[in-house]
Every structure is written in structure tokens, then in C-alpha cells.
């Protein structure tokens, strides 16, 4: 019984991932590229200041994966919310935001607690999507003008 319910839920998720809006895919791809570039830059900075080791690399990759995953989940929520009634969409978005923040807190705490990850290297990539959005805004403005 439990397995059937689990399989049904899993199928629901697979269907949802297949139906990802092209806009969400495009924006996530852009953010992933920016995060990757900034991750390389961060690793270079650690190398220059002489603090680089394997934990920085692993922490950076882990932090970047969490940041991109959070952005993708946010895109999926927005995609779903835009098909709902405004009041219901508002509630769902609030719930999703709180759930994702909790997920980020747990994942970042795991990253900070495990000795194989550098704490700063886990936390810094969380800001990279914001930088990506700023760059995106500037490029969109240039296209408009």
C-alpha cells in the first residue's frame, strides 16, 4: 500500500519534470552557467589567497548544486502557481518559499557540519543566483533598448 502510494507520487514528480516550461528551463540554464563561472572565480580566489584545498572544491560544488536546485524548484513553483487562482497562488508561493528556505537551511547546515566541506565555500554560492539575476536584468535591458 505504502509502495503503491510512493510510486504514484514518484510518477507525479516525473510527469511534472517532463512538463517543465521552456522559460523555466532557459532561465535555470542561464543561472547554472553564471553559478558555474562564479564558482570557478571563487575557487581561483581561494587559490590566490592560499586557502584552497579539496574541501573548498567539494563545498563549492555542493553549495552551487544547492543554489541551482533551489532556483529550479522556485521556477517550478512559479510555473505551477501561474495556472492557479491569485489567492491560491499566493498561499502556494508562500508555502513553497518557506519549504525551500527550510530545505536550504538543512542542506547548508549539513554542508557546514560535515568536515569534508569548507563552510564558507558552501555558503558563498548561495548568493550567485542573485548576481546572475542582476546580469540577466542588465542584458534584458540592453535588448529592450
Amino acid at each position: 500500500m505504502f509502495l503503491t502510494s510512493y510510486m504514484r507520487r514518484l510518477e507525479g514528480w516525473i510527469i511534472l519534470f517532463k512538463k517543465v516550461d521552456p522559460t523555466v528551463k532557459k532561465e535555470t540554464r542561464f543561472i547554472a552557467i553564471v553559478v558555474l563561472l562564479l564558482l570557478v572565480l571563487m575557487e581561483a580566489v581561494f587559490l590566490v589567497i592560499g586557502q584552497w584545498d579539496m574541501t573548498v572544491l567539494l563545498g563549492g560544488v555542493y553549495g552551487a548544486a544547492v543554489a541551482v536546485g533551489n532556483f529550479f524548484l522556485m521556477g517550478l513553483t512559479v510555473q505551477k502557481c501561474l495556472t492557479l487562482e491569485p489567492d491560491e497562488a499566493k498561499k502556494r508561493m508562500k508555502l513553497s518559499q518557506q519549504g525551500r528556505l527550510l530545505m536550504l537551511l538543512v542542506l547548508c547546515m549539513i554542508g557546514a557540519a560535515l568536515p569534508c566541506f569548507h563552510t564558507v565555500a558552501v555558503l558563498v554560492p548561495q548568493f550567485f543566483p542573485r548576481i546572475g539575476v542582476t546580469i540577466r536584468g542588465l542584458t534584458m535591458k540592453d535588448k529592450d533598448s
Binding site: D21, P22, T23, V24, K26, E27, I31, F71, M74, G75, V78, Q79, C81, L82, L84, E85, P86, D87, A89, K90, K91, R92, M93, K94, Q97, Q98, R100, L101, L104, L105, C108, M109, A112, A113, T119, L123, Q126, F127, P129, R130, G132, V133, R136, G137
Partner: protein, 99 residues
């Protein structure tokens, strides 16, 4: 005495982290909710602009979520980094005063 001081430091750090996350999570949640509700209305009025609205919406949500992430990072630093630093500073200060 030192144990009490360390206990107060750890307690204050935990309390600060909790308050930081609690207050920091309110703003983005409310903001994103309002933005999405208005986006739904906009798409209802102009269904052909769905792509543009979705794109702007995702970017807007990412921006409003940043404040929550700032709070998250501060909370994690308060839990994992600040107690050690503060206890070290306290111990050094006591040693200096004792010497």
C-alpha cells in the same frame, strides 16, 4: 563563572539565529506571494504574454528571496562560526586580565 559566560554566549547565538531566520523568512514569503498573485491576474488579462510574465516573475522571485538567504547565511554563521570565535576571545581576554 567562565562556564556561565560561555553558556550565555551560546544561548545568545542560538537565540539570534532563531530570530534572524524567523524575521528574515517573513518578508520574502509575503513579497513572493503578492508578486505571483499579481502575475496570475496579468496572465488572466493577457494570456499571450505568459512567457514574458513567467520570465520576469522568476527573476523577481529570485531577487526577493535573496533577503531570506542573507538571513539564512547569518543564522548559520551564528550557529557554527560565532560561538567559537566569541569563546576564544573571552578566554584570551580572561587570560590577559589574569596575567
Amino acid at each position: 563563572m567562565l562556564e556561565i559566560a560561555i553558556g550565555i554566549i551560546l544561548g545568545c547565538c542560538a537565540l539570534g539565529a532563531g530570530i534572524c531566520m524567523g524575521i528574515g523568512a517573513i518578508g520574502p514569503g509575503v513579497g513572493e506571494g503578492h508578486a505571483v498573485a499579481n502575475a496570475c491576474e496579468a496572465i488572466g488579462r493577457q494570456p499571450e504574454a505568459k512567457g514574458a510574465v513567467t520570465s520576469t516573475m522568476i527573476m523577481g522571485c529570485a531577487i526577493s528571496e535573496t533577503t531570506g538567504i542573507y538571513a539564512l547565511v547569518i543564522a548559520i554563521l551564528l550557529i557554527f562560526v560565532a560561538p567559537g570565535m566569541l569563546v576564544n576571545t573571552l578566554t584570551k581576554a580572561i587570560k590577559t586580565l589574569g596575567a
